[in-house]
């Protein structure tokens, strides 16, 4: 499988995700944002970080870069696209995913291990997880408070497009297990064709048992199936 990681000025999880992809046997390439064409890839990853400092709105400026037009084209033709954290924010700014990520309810940056529940395991990104499986991943963001309008929320539910929800370690989804105020504890969503996944938690931080655990592995390895 071939993958591309898009690097924006201010991306800072680009190396981390490249390490994870390599570990999962992807043949990965880094793609600088000023490029005007994408190498042929099965998976495009937009990594976490602070593209353009997250100044103005997180993800807004990266959403206007040259390479993004290519990402949109590839996504529309069915290529898999994974946006992690800042990558998720960028995907919403480009319109590839709907809704937006507002400031955390606490107005504070939050870095900690949290639990999320697999809400849909019938996609290319999640087939190796069990339905309702509880994962421990790490979040690190200022703006992870997912928000969308009522119509879209209904659509997300009806079409099973919610990927993950924040929960506690026993899988309970509640206000208490919501770290940032996200609407209905939403931690990640798909587009309607389910070839684009945006998520706030960082799966690439959970692929190495020396550092943490390996709960993030299957996001990448499901794609290999």
């Amino acid at each position: 499988m071939k993958s591309s990681v898009i690097v924006f000025p201010g991306s800072n999880c680009d190396r981390d995700v490249a390490v994870a992809l390599k570990k999962m046997q992807f043949n990965n390439q880094m793609v600088w944002h000023k490029e005007t064409s994408l190498p042929k890839s099965d998976l495009i990853v937009i990594p976490g970080g602070f593209s353009y400092g997250d100044y103005l709105r997180s993800g807004a400026i990266a959403g206007k870069s040259l390479i993004i037009d290519e990402v949109i084209k590839a996504a529309n033709s069915g290529c898999f696209v994974l946006g992690i954290c800042n990558g998720f924010q960028i995907l919403t700014e480009t319109g590839l995913l709907r809704g937006t990520l507002l400031r955390n309810e606490s107005l504070k940056f939050i870095n900690k291990d949290i639990n999320i529940k697999v809400i849909n395991n019938k996609t290319k990104f999640s087939s190796k997880y069990k339905l309702n499986q509880v994962l421990k991943l790490n979040i690190a963001h200022n703006e992870g408070n997912y928000f969308t309008d009522k119509n879209h929320l209904d659509e997300l539910k009806n079409e099973n497009l919610i990927a993950f929800k924040y929960c506690d370690k026993n899988g309970n989804i509640s206000v208490k297990s919501n770290p940032n105020g996200a609407l209905e504890n939403i931690a990640g969503i798909y587009n309607s064709k389910k070839n684009i996944l945006g998520m706030m938690p960082h799966p690439e931080r959970m692929v190495d048992s020396i550092i943490s655990n390996t709960d993030g592995v299957n996001i990448f390895s499901s794609l290999m199936v």
Partner: protein, 726 residues
């Protein structure tokens, strides 16, 4: 403008210093030149009060590649790897504008590290605030923490450890010390010494604005009531630009284009150009018309003294200009050749084709004033505290007081605001004795910790100085690292005061003795004087940042208990020293007496023995004993794991508070699996180490037989209450 006494004073120069300037120049300086002298001769840049003392520190060892004198210290961690690190203060700016002050403190120390060719891999900080009830403390705490996080998170370097203390001595003068640690290849280290005549001097990074003009002088002048009204142009940090600068510099460093490189820190363009040229015994000539400016009509004076952030000065090899320019263009950064090296040994500044300043470089560096200020010794306190005469308190109540106090409360309110995981090499995050960072792609790691003990240092600076080095050493040992070297940040009051100067001199002697004994050299550091207001000085607060090596990631340790029914061993002798302890402070508000005594021989033997046990994989968890004594350390081991303990009352010491809260030094707690106990005891005895079997781990309850029994979850709540409700 004619230079009069007022102007001289505003520049932080004494009249006799001005006379020396005239002598060195053999004429009167103009205002630009005066500004340059004031920047280079102030305490911050010249170290004029501290130099003769700092010279005594041990700075060499087989692990040292570069000691003090460069942007940061460099040590050897085996293979082709080097670690580059330094700590620096940003106290005064952070008090005026906590967010930006702390943020630019982090930005500044990062540049010191990557200017030497290292990719930064960890950030640490030591932050000291006034009493929690002081009206300013809360917003200062909020601002500083979000400023530190704001910068580190954005640039994408994990903030992994630190310390946070409250003490009313910092009410009017908080401390914000930031430390950065980077990794480089041993054969790819960059220095600031210029070489060769007629080499291009290149300015890269952000544009120059009117930020922090007089910032360097501000950091060296005491606050007075008006200082808040002075509203100096505060420097605003731009971590995004710094990230670009970091990547661009590291990219340029891949080949051999750079002769010398230096970040523009305090006193910006002035100190960087002067230092690079004078280290190389060269001259330097700058054309100020070429300096990229952010504002209109900036004067040479403003350009030379601006402290705008995120800028660097590079001296390039011939023929590399276009190659370097391409790299900086790729990263959207300014890149301008603003001058050249000369053989004149002078700093020459040209503007609009006119020479605006011409100063012999030695006048700014080697001939800068040097003071051997008067200092007085401090005696050990003779006040004895009769613990038996104090009102009785139950052990459990005292423990609750300590664990719920601001200084001992769990810091996750702070550390959750820092990205600790980015770069995916953080093996052990904040919350333990030391953080552990893996060397990328390797099986080894470094351990890092920062420590200070202002109360001990105030009471007896010599002992205090020794104590922090030892505590820092112990924190590294406790995670299974071999301590290699330290950096230090000396935060003190007004050095013109004999007593304060004494505190400084004696703390340094203490640091020196401990470092020498432990083979723990000082490779970098920073001095911050004039911390205080209206003649009220802060407690002497040296901060030690240590780096240790874990050669094999299968052999490190954390402080959380790992299982039930294992044995708990206490290494080191307990004498029950309570003077200057956290127990007396939190329970009785007494801050008196002497600090605990330091026995360097025991310290070393105990530590080496603990390290060898960890290296033999005989230890399940380890924790050093520091402020709060044995019982606090035991609680921390439980809180981290939800496993409880059952501990016997002491056999020898009669006073239970002395036993459990005493702050005797050189001690550790080890958790040992039952089946390994006899082997461990054999090794300890063979090494002639004093130890006690204090009890075992058990399910759920923290129990001291016949004294107290409390649910570990309750301890957790007690320990986590304060920050969330402040």
């Amino acid at each position: 403008m004619k230079i009069n006494n007022d102007i001289i004073e505003q520049h932080g120069l004494k009249l006799d210093e001005y006379e020396s300037i005239k002598k060195l120049l053999k004429r009167n300086p103009n205002l630009l030149e005066l500004g340059i002298f004031s920047a280079m001769w102030n305490e911050h840049c010249s170290y004029k009060s501290s130099k003769i003392h700092l010279k005594k520190l041990p700075t060499i060892g087989e692990q040292v590649i570069q000691g003090p004198g460069e942007n940061a210290g460099v040590i050897d961690i085996g293979d082709e790897d080097a670690i580059i690190f330094k700590i620096e203060s940003h106290n005064h700016p952070s008090y005026i504008e906590p967010y930006q002050g702390a943020a630019t403190g982090v930005g500044g120390i990062l540049r010191d590290v990557f200017t030497m060719g290292a990719r930064p891999i960890a950030l640490l900080n030591s932050i000291h605030f006034g009493s929690p009830s002081h009206p300013k403390t809360k917003s200062l705490l909020n601002g500083v923490v979000s400023g530190i996080g704001g910068y580190g998170n954005c640039i994408g370097i994990p903030t992994v450890a630190g310390e946070t203390k409250f003490n009313e001595t910092y009410n009017e003068n908080i401390l914000v010390n930031a430390m950065a640690v980077g990794h480089a290849k041993k054969n790819k280290i960059f220095y600031s010494k210029a070489k060769g005549v007629n080499k291009a001097v290149v300015y890269v990074g952000s544009k120059t604005g009117r930020d922090g003009i007089h910032g360097a002088s501000m950091a060296s002048a005491e606050f007075d009531e008006n200082s808040e009204e002075k509203k100096p142009t505060v420097q605003v940090g731009d971590p995004f630009t710094e990230k670009l600068l970091l990547e661009a510099c590291l990219e340029l460093m891949r080949d051999s284009s750079i002769i010398a490189i230096q970040d523009m820190g305090a006193a910006g363009l002035t100190s960087s150009s002067v230092e690079m040229a004078s280290k190389g015994s060269l001259g330097i000539e700058l054309e100020l018309d070429k300096v990229p400016c952010r504002e209109e009509k900036m004067t040479p004076y403003e350009m030379m003294l601006s402290e705008s952030q995120e800028r660097m000065l590079i001296i390039l090899e011939d023929g590399k200009e276009e190659h370097a320019r391409e790299i900086f263009k790729k990263w959207d950064l300014d890149f301008v050749v603003i001058g050249k090296t000369t053989s004149s040994q002078k700093l020459v500044l040209k503007y609009h084709n006119k020479i605006e300043a011409e100063i012999p470089l030695d006048a700014l560096s080697s001939k800068a004033p040097l003071y051997n200020r008067k200092w007085s010794k401090k005696r050990l306190s003779k006040n004895k505290i009769e613990i038996k005469k104090l009102k009785k308190i139950k052990l459990e109540d005292a423990l609750i007081k300590v664990l719920s106090s601001p200084n001992h409360s769990n810091k996750s309110w702070i550390t959750d605001q820092y990205d600790q995981m980015v770069m995916c090499d953080t093996v052990n995050r904040s919350g333990s004795d030391a953080a552990i960072i893996r060397i990328h792609n390797k099986d080894k790691a470094i351990a890092v910790s920062v420590d200070s003990s202002a109360n001990y240092c105030k009471s007896h600076p010599l002992t205090g100085g020794k104590q922090i080095v030892c505590e820092n050493w112990r924190n590294l040992i406790a995670v299974g690292a071999k301590p290699l070297a330290i950096t230090n940040c000396m935060n003190f009051g007004n050095p013109e005061n004999q007593e304060i100067m004494g505190e400084f001199a004696e703390c340094l002697i203490g640091i020196k003795e401990a470092c020498e004994f432990l083979n723990y050299p000082v490779v970098s550091g920073n001095v911050s004087f004039y911390n205080g207001t209206n003649k009220k000085n802060i407690f002497p607060t040296p901060v030690i940042g240590g780096v240790g090596l874990i050669n094999n990631l299968k052999k490190y340790q954390t402080h959380n208990f790992k299982m039930e029914t294992s044995n708990i061993i206490l290494i080191g002798k307990s004498f029950g020293h309570l003077e200057q302890s956290c127990f007396l402070k939190e329970v009785y508000s007494i801050i008196e007496g002497r600090p605990p005594e330091i026995n360097l021989t025991n310290e070393k033997n105990n530590g080496e023995c603990v390290l060898s046990l960890i290296n033999k994989n005989l230890v399940l968890s380890a924790h050093d004993i520091s402020s709060g004594g044995l019982i606090t350390a035991l609680s921390e081991m439980c809180i981290g794991s939800s496993i409880g303990i059952k501990v016997e009352k002491p056999k020898k010491l009669t006073n239970i508070n002395e036993y459990f809260f005493g702050e005797d030094q050189g001690r550790y707690i080890l958790e040992i699996e039952q089946k390994n106990l006899s082997e461990v005891e054999k090794i300890i005895k063979k090494n002639n180490i004093y130890y006690e079997n204090v009890g075992i781990t058990q399910k759920d309850y923290f129990e001291i037989k016949g004294e107290m029994k409390i649910d570990v979850n309750d301890l957790f709540k007690i320990n986590n209450h304060w920050y969330n409700n402040y």
